[in-house]
Amino acid sequence: MKKAAIAGILAAAAALAVAANGQDWDGKAKRLEEEFRLAKTSSVYLVVDAGAKTVSLRIRGLTLKTWPVSNIRSWGRPIGIKSLKVEKRTGWSAEDRVNLTPGRKPEKKRKDKKPKDIGDDVLEIDDMPAKYGFILETNARLDIRPRAKGLFNRSAYALGGLGRSIGRSVRLIWSVIKKREFSNIQVTVPTKKTAQEIFWAVPEGTGILFF
């Protein structure tokens, strides 16, 4: 009787282990399938790994750069393991580019300038926004923002929490009324520079893989 009970427990444990393994393989396979879809093109793609709390830029399966993430939050329809294309970016537009006037001879002028004085003339990482959103396919959105630093900024962020909660609730209720579901992921990165680097590296049309 005892032997039968032990055998039963062992069999159940084995079945559970197999089931657990099966689930894991399924998720992993789905992630790899999605990544392969992006890796077989010649474009860069972004990987948002909620488990590892990292955002990495890849091409052909090769990691070009990895940024740490302070916090990832999501609301609306969970995206799950899926890759989506960036349709639009907020916070910066192509009109923010420097217009070069013909005949301005920038090369000759730069020759006499100190490297630190050419900032107005060119588009560089410091000109990128630190708070922005990537509008993705299927009514999804990825928001990137740097972590609030300093007592004033942190207090302002905490106070804004109530406003954000109300805004989210209104949006959730409205989406049900309008029968138009949405997904929203907010990634908080440690520094302003990190947010700017991600914006620079992800132009419109880039694929983003979430898992």
Binding site: D26, A29, E33, R60, W75, K111, P115
Partner: protein, 210 residues
Amino acid sequence: MKRQRWWWIAALAAGGSLAALIMAGSLVERFVYAKPEAEPTASANAVTARTVRTLEARIKAVEPRGLYIVIDTAANRLLLKRGDKTIKEFVISCGSGGILEDTSGGRKWIFETPRGEYAVQNKLVNPTWIKPDWAFIEEGEKIPSDYNERIDNDTLGDFALGFGNGYFIHGTLYTRLLGRNVTHGCVRVGDKDLKEIYQAAGIGTRIYIY
């Protein structure tokens, strides 16, 4: 006294409404948005360790083999890499992102270094730059009808590695500006570093730009 009571009632009603709104939102999230959409995967049937290994091998197969070049246009750095190992890092200059418009011809150029995967297509010693129209427009000069007036033997340095669509990794006269985004889309490198890159990279060497 009566007025004060009304204030309290109004404040409580407003607070209660907001709390109800937030609660309604969380209920919607919990009951309407609770589960991710069921999406059948190609691997839905009998996913095993073998399937995963096959997929991993497929991704591995598209990764570059041997030496490759990575260009970070934000940091203005060029890396010579093999596998995960960085062999050497160089300071470079990438595209300025500026726009030049030809008011008379209605043409427009964006001076940006292209992103994505490329390969070294040709290697040149003492390269000659055939100045395109924008080079004259930017300088406020007339576009020459004589081809010979476009030939410039001094600007590109001792070597150039072409990676398509007229883009090159080449030398520079403006070494002080290395590390800044000042070019018309090409990748400028200091003379000594350029020689090293030229010697290391062969035709077909992959270039990854971000």
